[in-house]
């Protein structure tokens, strides 16, 4: 298994910059997510690691060896695509065995390795079936089996669950993560689905317009986003922003937005102009005496919790509260922000200002 290191990696297609000068490391045994909207450069980054695209400039190291210009076949990695292509004329066993047979491995060894992989994936009972009649889940397991059987240094996965329906996707996501926990193989996984990234990843790199905006553990990105893009892309509903013109001196612990004062974590830098206070939906609380008044425009029942859509003088907000709270459309409420959780952003650059709360992360 392997560490993967990316240094100043850059990729252009003609005038279009797909990936701008990224540098980061994926540790041995890590489940690492590349997350972002379509066109953000995540798949291009993965394909460069795989050797399916060559970088315009920069270096890629797998276990310390520079492989940036090497073809895919010399990198000892396994690539799993969204659309798993199985050989339709071969049965399950021979599909899984194929990469070993083509390496010229002995029949006894192949048989043993296929049996091991089948046991890991729980597909021993279908080994002798043709792949044609299999369910979507079993086809996916066979495709994984074919990737695992070679025991490559790393697995690279490009939205492998993207084509599955929601219920099934949830189950396969759990299976994939459990498989990773058993095998401990370095895995790089591309997705546009933030929930999938949060659920499965040890760390997430959030990409936008070819740039890695932030790398960190799921909870860290959620709590302390480095940019407004990360704050908005992670979380459902996303982080709320209360924008306005404000003056902020270093060392202060409150901010005034359009006449409304909020306590915030002590800032470590000064800023002025267009700023925004970012607050997650579950950190809005309803209290009668809060200065910020709001009207309830919609509620969305979600079982354990409900989402309450509000209009306020500072813009529209969404709050997440327990379903036990009785709240009605049209009602007027006071809204309090949990001061310990707030992040202030510079709107022009989208960057989070460093505060006592997030300085360990940014």
């Amino acid at each position: 298994m392997a560490q993967i290191r990316i240094e100043n990696l850059h990729k252009s297609f003609g005038d279009f910059t797909a990936v701008q000068s990224s540098t980061f490391s994926i540790e041995d045994g890590e489940f690492f997510m590349l997350l972002g909207p379509s066109g953000c450069g995540k798949t291009t980054t993965l394909r460069m690691m795989a050797g399916l695209e060559l970088p315009t400039s920069g270096r890629i190291y797998i276990d310390g060896e520079e492989v940036g210009m090497k073809p895919a076949s010399q990198r000892d990695i396994a690539f799993v695509f969204q659309m798993f292509a199985l050989y339709p004329h071969l049965n399950v066993r021979r599909n899984i065995a194929y990469p070993l047979v083509s390496q010229g491995m002995s029949r006894a060894t192949v048989r043993q390795k296929v049996a091991e992989v089948a046991a890991i994936l729980g597909i021993e009972h279908i080994l002798d079936l043709p792949v044609g009649g299999l369910s979507g889940g079993d086809r996916q397991r066979v495709a994984l089996g074919r990737a695992i059987v070679r025991q490559p240094k790393a697995f690279l996965m490009d939205e492998p669950l993207g084509a599955l329906d929601a219920e099934f996707r949830e189950r396969m996501a759990q299976e994939l993560r459990a498989l990773h926990d058993r095998m401990g193989a370095t895995t790089v996984y591309v997705t546009h689905d933030q929930l999938e990234a949060m659920q499965m990843g040890d760390r997430i790199a959030v990409m936008n317009h070819g740039v890695v905006e932030q790398i960190g553990a799921p909870q860290v990105l959620y709590d302390w986003p480095a940019t407004m893009f990360v704050a908005g892309f992670i979380g459902s509903p996303p982080m709320n922003f209360l924008p306005g013109n404000a003056e902020l001196a270093a060392g202060t612990d409150h901010i005034r937005i359009d006449g409304h004062a909020f306590r915030i974590p002590r800032t470590e830098e000064s800023a002025h102009g267009a700023l925004a206070v970012g607050v997650r939906p579950e950190h809005l609380h309803f209290t009668d005496d809060a200065g910020l008044r709001a009207r309830v425009v919609a509620t969305e029942y979600l079982g354990t919790t409900q989402i309450v859509a509000l209009t306020t003088p500072l813009g529209d907000l969404k709050a997440r509260v327990s379903s036990r709270v009785d709240i009605r459309v049209g009602e007027a409420v006071g809204v309090q922000l949990d001061e310990r959780t707030l992040t202030v952003f510079d709107v022009a650059s989208g960057r989070a200002l460093v505060s006592a709360a997030n300085r360990g992360v940014l």
């Binding site: 329906d165 933030q194 909870q219 992670i234 969305e300 079982g303």
Partner: protein, 331 residues
């Protein structure tokens, strides 16, 4: 708008029973979401109401009138499908106006223009009216196909997974829009989906379909908090309800076969020891994957819990559900 009734409707395709004497009343002005696994009969139900298929037995009534063999055009229904089918050579405006220009509708050009503009504004595509349909993003195209249904004033809107091909952000936006459109117009809507979030957030009533029958019909809160069967309980809730042997935690009521525990029915910190296998941090909440006497249990705790894999935590059922051997809810 109209009340729509399905009365003992059956439909077979070859040897497959799609609908099995299904009865369902869609109240006038309701937003009914049919929820069920693949093959439960959701889409067949829509197609029978639309007149695209005919039932083998039973009747479809709209405002008390028997539909019989009436063709789709005679039923005054508007359908939206998962795959938007716009006229590629027409502009957004022409696509939206198309249903109104049918000889059946008898509207003046001014009336049509006004209606198209209203709907375009409601769906936030007014600035795209002059664009060719092919020059739109996927989300915009789906708005136009929803808009093409909304320009009409049908007895019922029938929607078959209209949001499932859109990305998460757009789905969330359109969920709120559809709900607001329904609230503002008093339209009757029948909506088919796999997605429980759509069902929970938009529906006035959820119909749970299982094997061609409606097993439960009620408000989202009612179906979530008071499921009549194991299958109904499994349709809603994220993470999914834990289904365990009835006596796993201690004595069970007579005839109980299964114990059903949603996360809020598991009290943490008291009761019996369970092992934490994995801690999954989702931001606003953290999911705990537990093993209790060789059974997997998933529950939810504070986002910032200090628990890590390998630790032991006490758990205890809190007002759980019990189901009998036929999956019917007992308590």
């Amino acid at each position: 708008m109209a009340q729509v009734v399905l009365d003992g409707v059956s439909k077979r395709f070859g040897s497959t029973v799609a609908l099995d004497a299904l009865s369902l009343t869609i109240p006038d002005g309701a937003f009914v979401v049919l929820l069920g696994p693949t093959g439960a009969g959701k889409t067949t139900t829509l197609r029978l109401i639309a007149g695209l298929d005919q039932p083998d037995a039973g009747a479809v009534l709209m405002d008390g009138r028997l539909m019989g063999q009436a063709a789709p055009a005679q039923r005054n229904v508007a359908m939206v499908f998962q795959q938007y089918s716009l006229y590629p050579h027409l502009t957004v405006e022409q696509n939206l106006a198309f249903p109104l220009r049918s000889p059946l509708s008898r509207l003046t050009s001014e009336q049509i223009d006004r209606r198209v503009r209203e709907v375009a504004e409601m769906l936030q595509i007014a600035h795209k009216l002059g664009n060719k349909a092919t020059a739109l993003s996927g989300g915009e195209m789906q708005r136009v196909s929803i808009g093409r249904a909304l320009v009409r004033n049908p007895s019922i809107y029938l929607m078959d997974e209209p949001l499932s091909s859109l990305d998460a952000k757009l789905r969330a936006d359109l969920r709120l829009e559809l709900k607001a459109i329904h609230a503002g117009s008093g339209a009757t809507l029948l909506y088919v989906t796999h997605d429980q979030t759509e069902a929970m957030t938009m529906a006035t009533h959820i119909g749970v379909l299982e094997n061609g029958r409606v097993t439960q019909f009620g408000s989202p809160r009612d179906v979530y908090e008071n499921p009549v069967s194991l299958s109904a309980a499994r349709r809603l809730g994220q993470p999914r309800i834990n289904v365990l042997p009835a006596d796993l935690f201690g004595p069970a009521p007579p005839n109980a076969r299964w114990l059903g525990l949603r996360p809020e029915q598991i009290r943490l910190g008291q009761g019996q020891d369970a092992t934490v296998v994995r801690v999954e941090r989702l931001g606003d909440q953290t999911r705990l994957h537990l093993v209790f006497r060789n059974h997997d249990i998933v529950t939810v705790t504070d986002a910032h819990t200090a628990l890590v894999g390998g630790e032991v935590i006490r758990i205890e059922p809190d007002r759980p559900f019990y189901f009998d051997a036929s999956d019917t809810r007992l308590i």
